[in-house]
Point group: C2
Chain length 327, copies 2
Amino acid sequence: MKIIIDAMGGDNAPSAPVEAAVKAVKEFGVDIVLVGDTDIVRKELSKYGYQGNEITIAHADDVISNHEEPAKAVRSKKTASVVVAANMLKNGEGDAMLSMGNTGALLASGLLIVGRIKGVLRPALATLLPSAKGPKMLIDAGANTNCKAENLVQFGIMGSIYMKNVLNIVNPTVGLMSNGEEEGKGDDLTKETFPLLKEAPVNFIGNIEGRDVMEGTADVITCDGFVGNVILKTVEGMGHVVSQKVKDIFMKGLLTKIGALFVMKGLDDFKQTMDYREYGGAPLLGTKKPVIKGHGSSDSKAVFSAIYQAKKFVETNVIDEIVNNIN
Amino acid sequence: MKIIIDAMGGDNAPSAPVEAAVKAVKEFGVDIVLVGDTDIVRKELSKYGYQGNEITIAHADDVISNHEEPAKAVRSKKTASVVVAANMLKNGEGDAMLSMGNTGALLASGLLIVGRIKGVLRPALATLLPSAKGPKMLIDAGANTNCKAENLVQFGIMGSIYMKNVLNIVNPTVGLMSNGEEEGKGDDLTKETFPLLKEAPVNFIGNIEGRDVMEGTADVITCDGFVGNVILKTVEGMGHVVSQKVKDIFMKGLLTKIGALFVMKGLDDFKQTMDYREYGGAPLLGTKKPVIKGHGSSDSKAVFSAIYQAKKFVETNVIDEIVNNIN
């Protein structure tokens, strides 16, 4: 199996992707193509004394930054790392691709270059969020701002297949994000979606609410990309503020620092379960081949998790199962 | 000034509203009408040995429970406490009303009985949320599931007036909840709203994102009631899960309990700043007279805060200023 990695995307590129690649070829037995400026990537690789032949470099002159208009940049910058990577994936020169760079550019590359699975109206970005009951999927987390009911149904189907195959969840539950639990609650979109999800080949548990996100009520939370983006960023922002506050409290004086020693282990364990880096990246579901978005701030540990996820995405045949279940 | 309180609504009724009323008449110098079953309320009042004449009781035979269909219940149950309270407010037998009961029933009472201010298209429920920079307003928090751009603009105007008058914030900032900061990001609704907010008589700072909720980037967050409800409940759910987890960590063993002693004060202070009970209730903005929704699980401390808020709502002339700024 060969994973194509955009070595130039993300806040910690190229060091994080390169370090993770070196570790991944050893631990997972995969081959990796690092796409980026050959000189820069080779120099970075040399830091780890890597001598093997599992990692190859595919040259890309250019990079799409976070500030560029995604679709336009993908169309015009033919030699940007994410575009080169997507073309390699399309042409069968790898089994999956991963980028920590500009989200919109990766989505556009997935849509315009890799292409949609026949029958999938809109591929969606699926993020794994921590919850009291383990990682749960939020789909769509931001690829499709305005959605139709059929889109939300397909998100539920694709998300279920991914959670079953990649996270080994038996008969994953699907909840429809709404503003009330009862059938009949919701906006125009969710009211139209509800009866369709009832008939869909998923384990639909009805409407869920915001509080169910962290409580982990459903394995798959389906919503449009606007609402998904708001949820994702609200949770991220709250996590950031709360952990900063707790840190301030512990660092306040000598006594609090002593107190912190006694509970640090437990808090660290908890922080780890809430850490996005443990869960790898966000798969784009609905493209013909596996495309994964790693968090922009991913360190090498996060990229390493995302490579593992890409491997499972490929070997559990998620794509084939989506093809067979969407029509 | 006279505050009308639905003494039968909420998880802790009638004890919490009655206890809070006894304390409030003493500390705030307001008069209070407790609306509910006279025998029950009188019995509850006697527990506090209350002998004054600032508190009166208005009899209401019936209650609207949380499981009833709100608009229907308000129309049919003429002697329900919330309906009696709203009629008293409408008829000038009090200056503001407060209920901890069925949210939908209070909204319906506000709309159907108290009535909209002329020019206000849709009154909105405005919740104060804790943030790293103090309490911020989320409007609409759930009264209007499907909104138009004009509604979101009015929410921004009404929210600004409330934050300025009741929370003493100079020139409050208004942010439009979206899925990206840049102008041009957003769904159809927010894209249409953006230029209108630019022209509106508010201190508009542009689009904000989910992470800005807890960071406190804007004093007033305007969004439709579907998105607002999802944000509110996501934050509540996350607060619940995180505080439960931290408690578990501290209670794990003897050493962690000792550690907890050193940091408990700081954590309690932090918990207090994140506590909805400190901020009183959620005002319904856009009705002809002040209507406040207290949290269903309010204890007497939370009701007491909400009474204080009702008092400020009245004495700072929020309603007059809304009348003068909406047309």
